[in-house]
């Protein structure tokens, strides 16, 4: 299905978070690696929302606080420190992270601020032990030329990554502190992207820029958030888009959702619908219920949505109804879900009970009822949220932060953060950035991936495929470095780096043992005609399995070394002299069969072109 995006007034902006590949974290000397080994300590914490600089409590932070979450932090004795546990003030800003970010700013044609102020952005979902993320604005006002036109890069921030959530059971939400504090570059575009394919491409291009600098690679090291709105809708931020291929689908589904919510709004207005502010105890309606959930619940409560009948069951995204939107809000208050009359009878609730309920609450046919079964205070709190969200339905689309699901649907996370979340991090001095330093970085920019690819194709006569692979896997620098040291044919070097090493890793060989020096030694053997191209793969395996042995020795031990031209000559001479009859019968026609015989005997021990040369000479001698 293709929509008329222009007519819908589709506006999209992108927010990219990229982990930087620095030695240490942004505000402490801990390494920037994730860990899978057992943690040493577990720390239990709670967080409370506080006032911000402008004297207002931020609504997103307030929302999260209502859940009264408790947190467990997994820490290490040597790989995380008191800064991550919020028991020591942050150390000075990491200059390496700053310089990488300045490089990114320059590549995106941005204006760097004169003085960098580290801010505290309140996040009290537990992902930051301090209750805030340290973040600062480094540059503004850049642009990126894309095939879809120029995209404005609004801001570049330098901030710390959050703690990593790990699976856990029990009342505590569990986080591991290894990821907390890894430097992140945050890049935001203005909402000038107007169709889904362009969105995907812009994301790809920003990724390419980032990859030309010192950034981390692999799953979870780059995270995209998309802001989407249509003319009649509202800005919705979709967090955590990992797969760029999914981008058009996410946009499509969000636009669908916004259109459906607008449709619901129109219907509600037409029907003179109304949200009743009261929460009713309805336990007695379900005294003899067959529903296990209702039977075991501490209390059953309900609210009335006048005129909502049929709309709650309306699909807003494939498989997700307006009711799912309401339950998204209720879940934030600690319930597992809700029932609504559009889906009843079901879940063991009978038609009879539904009728009894409607009678009990004296509702009209056009009205809908929402039911929550939980502890009384939890049920009340959840229904208050449903009432709040239902009232918002009269505005159509609600400004929200939503989480990206695997199929491209989205789920409610929290209200959009406001500027009130930010106040100054007073533990870190203001940091002046001189024009000279910015210029110095601008004069030493790395090559962008596409530029690099074009250059190495030309300079080393590589195939497009090999060049592409080298650039994508970040092996291009290594490739050039090897060729600088060994004047050998470029293609085998490229193909070892782009393909062979990866295959070896896949087969569980320890390719860390194949150091740069070992590679250089190996290609020297190739250049000196001591081994053939065919022997490279076997030799690589041998190097990875025997880290302490010298490469030439390994080639010999594995019988991979080429025979000297003299020895080759002897063997060929021997073959040719045994077949002199054939030569006299077939003249040069004997070339083929004799070549075949020689190659069979010399396989992997002599270069084909040399064999060819010698066989030819030997035949000619006998003519």
């Amino acid at each position: 299905m293709s929509r008329d995006w222009k007519k819908l007034g589709l506006k999209m902006g992108l927010e990219v978070h990229q982990q930087l590949d620095t030695e240490s974290k942004l505000f402490c000397p801990c390494p920037t690696e994730l860990r899978d080994d057992n943690y040493d300590e577990e720390i239990k914490r709670i967080l409370r929302p506080t006032q911000s600089e402008l004297g207002q409590i931020d609504r997103a932070a307030y929302q999260e606080s209502m859940q009264k979450q408790r947190f467990n932090y997994e820490s290490y004795n040597t790989h995380t420190c008191l800064v991550e546990t919020d028991d020591e003030p942050p150390h000075a800003l990491n200059k390496e992270a700053l310089d990488i970010s300045l490089t990114i700013a320059s590549l995106l044609n941005m204006k760097v601020v004169d003085e960098f102020h580290t801010m505290r952005k309140q996040v009290i979902d537990g992902s930051n032990t301090s209750g805030f993320q340290r973040t600062g604005l480094l540059a503004t006002d850049g642009y990126l030329d894309t095939p879809y036109g120029e995209v404005k890069i609004e801001t570049l921030g330098l901030e710390e990554d959050a703690a990593r959530r790990v699976d856990s059971e029990g009342p505590y939400t569990e986080f591991r502190l290894d990821r907390l504090g890894i430097p992140l570059a945050e890049i935001t575009t203005d909402p000038s992207v107007h169709n889904p394919d362009a969105m995907q491409h812009v994301a790809y291009m920003i990724g390419q820029v980032l990859r030309s600098t010192k950034v981390k690679r692999g799953l979870g090291t780059i995270r995209q958030d998309v802001n989407i709105s249509i003319a009649e809708g509202a800005r919705v931020e979709i967090k955590g888009v990992q797969d760029l291929e999914l981008m058009p689908e996410i946009v499509e589904r969000e636009v669908t959702r916004q259109l459906k919510l607008i449709e619901i709004r129109n219907q509600l207005k037409e029907r003179n619908a109304e949200v009743i502010d009261e929460i009713y105890d309805i336990d007695e309606v379900f005294n003899d219920t067959g529903s296990k959930i209702l039977k075991s619940a501490k209390s059953i409560k309900a609210i009335i949505l006048k005129g909502f009948d049929g709309l709650i069951g309306l699909e807003v995204q494939p498989g997700r109804r307006f009711g799912t939107e309401l339950s998204g809000y209720a879940k934030k208050r600690g319930v597992h879900g809700l029932f609504h009359t559009d889906e009843l009878p079901a879940y063991g609730i009978s038609q009879e009970e539904v009728n009894k309920l409607k009678e009990y609450l004296k509702v009209e046919p056009k009205d809908a009822i929402i039911i929550v079964a939980e502890k009384p205070e939890v049920a009340t709190s959840a229904l208050e949220e449903v009432i709040r969200r239902s009232k918002m339905a009269f505005d159509g689309v609600v400004e929200e932060t939503r989480k990206c699901l695997e199929d491209g649907n989205t789920e409610y996370m929290r209200p959009l953060a406001t500027a009130n979340r930010m106040y100054l991090e007073t533990d870190i001095p203001l940091f002046q950035i001189s024009k000279e330093h910015v210029n110095e970085i601008a004069n030493n920019l790395p090559e962008l991936p596409d530029e690099k690819k074009a250059r190495i194709i030309k300079e080393y006569s590589l195939s497009e495929d090999l060049a592409n692979q080298l650039v994508r896997t970040q092996e291009a620098d290594m490739f050039e470095e090897i060729l600088k040291q060994v004047k050998v044919e470029s293609t085998p070097v490229a193909s070892v780096l782009a393909y062979d090493l990866k295959e070896l890793r896949r087969d569980n060989h320890n390719i860390n043992n194949i150091t740069f020096d070992k590679l250089v030694d190996m290609f020297k053997l190739l250049k000196d005609n001591k081994i053939s191209k065919d022997a490279l793969n076997k030799l690589l395996i041998s190097i990875s399995d025997n880290p302490n042995k010298n490469v030439e020795k390994l080639a010999e031990e594995n019988n991979l070394t080429l025979l000297s031209e003299e020895d080759v000559h002897k063997i060929i001479e021997n073959i040719v002299s045994k077949n002199e009859t054939m030569i006299s019968e077939r003249q040069m026609g004997a070339m083929g069969p004799l070549m075949g015989m020689s190659m069979k005997q010399l396989k992997g021990k002599a270069d084909g072109s040399i064999v060819n040369k010698i066989v030819r000479e030997e035949i000619q001698k006998r003519l």
């Binding site: 506080t50 008191l82 028991d87 003085e115 102020h117 604005l137 406001t418 930010m422 002046q432």
Partner: protein, 435 residues
């Protein structure tokens, strides 16, 4: 206005001030935002604006043009008033604020965390406290605890005594952590109390969601409602936000620059542990509520000094204090309580001039014993008084107080070696070390 010279002129010339929305233009970039205050110790030539996104940035005013977009108010921090209703079923707790991290918020003057709350603000920021007691709140000072002075201990003691006389059931003192253990020791010597006096603070400022202030305060109120009628310090027991330890005011010490469980009982266990405002265990005998009557004895000798011994220390340090008219010297010696022998002569001189010299150990744990080595015996001969197992800080405060009671050196020695407020114990348990 905290902008200085150039930046102040830049702003004044444009007729704008803090809180105004302005547009600033430079040759290749422009910004719009609200002008914020700038820290006094920061560089001149920059002005700070808060952008719409919430970010602050500093802009170098060189070649910049500024114009007013919209007048605004200077941002103010403050909580809405909370109605505090007296509930006869709840105990009456007095909260006295002296400043420090527990009652601090960001101050845009200095750009640093600064004591700026009143005790009332403290309550408004922690409304859950209202569920467990009635409160009378007052701000005695608003200082960082490194700026604490002995005369402030006196004022605090008098203020607490007033509250107790007015019928409060317990007192909580909000205090900066740096010198909290000096204050707790001072109050311990200066007061006998029928109700709990609990000192508390925070290692993470109360402007941040992860502050330890709330749990410390909540448990302190719990302790102030309890039966433990002593001067105590109530702070986090571990890095977890759950249990607080209640330490004897004379046996507690700040042992870490930044951890929330920085306060530790030295040479003994905490009196009790608290969770959710309730005592969950007790470890030591304690003086019970109403066992003693309120007594106040706040005489202190201000000319008391604390001197740390170290390799290379010279006798002029001792002589200086004698010459300057100090009445008491508290020495933080090495090991069992030693100073280099080159100090002995000056210490003898001190005694001759009527100055009390008390020895403690920089080991912090363990007790002084000057009988073991010859230097120690020479110190005894020079009439140096053993501080036994007191921490240097407690012994310093006690010496100042003892000199406030009598000028007679025999009396002073007598006071120093007599247990007044749990500061001395005679037996050293194997379990009290680095816990």
């Amino acid at each position: 206005m905290t902008y200085k010279e150039l930046s102040e002129k830049f702003i004044d010339d444009a007729g704008v001030s803090i809180g105004d929305t302005v547009f600033i233009e430079k040759d290749d970039v422009s910004y719009e935002g609200i002008i914020l205050d700038r820290s006094n110790d920061a560089l001149d030539e920059f002005i700070v604006i808060k952008l719409d996104s919430g970010y602050n940035i500093g802009i170098n005013i060189k070649d910049a043009k500024i114009k007013l977009v919209e007048k605004g108010d200077k941002p103010k921090i403050g909580y809405d008033n909370v109605e505090i209703e007296h509930d006869p079923n709840k105990m009456d707790i007095s909260i006295i604020s002296t400043g420090g991290t527990v009652s601090s918020i960001i101050d845009y003057k200095t750009g640093a965390v600064h004591p700026a709350f009143t005790a009332g603000d403290l309550l408004r920021a922690n409304p859950e406290l209202l569920d467990i007691a009635n409160y009378d709140v007052k701000a005695l000072y608003n200082i960082l605890s490194e700026n604490m002075k002995p005369e402030y201990w006196v004022k605090a003691a008098e203020s607490i005594a007033d509250d107790i006389n007015n019928g409060c059931d317990g007192v909580v003192v909000a205090h900066g952590t740096d010198t909290m253990h000096y204050t707790s020791a001072a109050l311990s010597f200066m007061m006998e109390t029928p109700v709990p006096i609990v000192i508390t603070g925070a290692q993470r400022s109360s402007d941040r969601p992860s502050t330890d202030a709330f749990i410390n305060l909540f448990n302190s109120v719990g302790a102030a409602k309890s039966d433990i009628a002593e001067v105590t310090v109530c702070m986090h027991d571990s890095l977890n936000d759950n249990i607080c330890s209640l330490h004897k005011g004379t046996k507690v010490r700040k042992m870490h620059t930044s951890r929330r469980d920085t306060f530790r009982s030295i040479d003994c266990e905490p009196i009790a542990e608290l969770k959710h405002g309730n005592i969950i265990s007790t470890n030591l005998p304690y003086i019970k509520r109403n066992e003693k009557e309120l007594k106040l004895n706040t005489n202190l000798e201000p000319k008391t000094a604390l001197i740390k011994s170290y390799p290379g220390i010279t006798s002029e340090l001792i002589d200086y204090h004698i010459d300057k008219g100090f009445k008491g010297l508290l020495i933080e010696g090495t090991g069992l309580g030693h100073v280099p022998e080159n100090l002995i002569q000056s210490l003898n001189r001190a005694y001759d001039e009527g100055i009390a010299v008390v020895m403690t150990s920089q080991c912090l744990y363990g007790r002084v014993n000057m009988n073991v080595y010859s230097t120690g015996r020479e110190l005894i001969n020079a009439h140096v008084i053993s501080g036994q197992d007191m921490t240097p800080e407690t012994a310093y405060v006690k010496l100042s107080w003892a000199l406030g009671q009598s000028e007679n050196l025999n009396d002073v020695e007598n006071i120093m070696t007599t247990n007044i407020a749990g500061e001395l114990s005679h037996s050293s348990s194997v379990k009290y070390f680095l816990n």
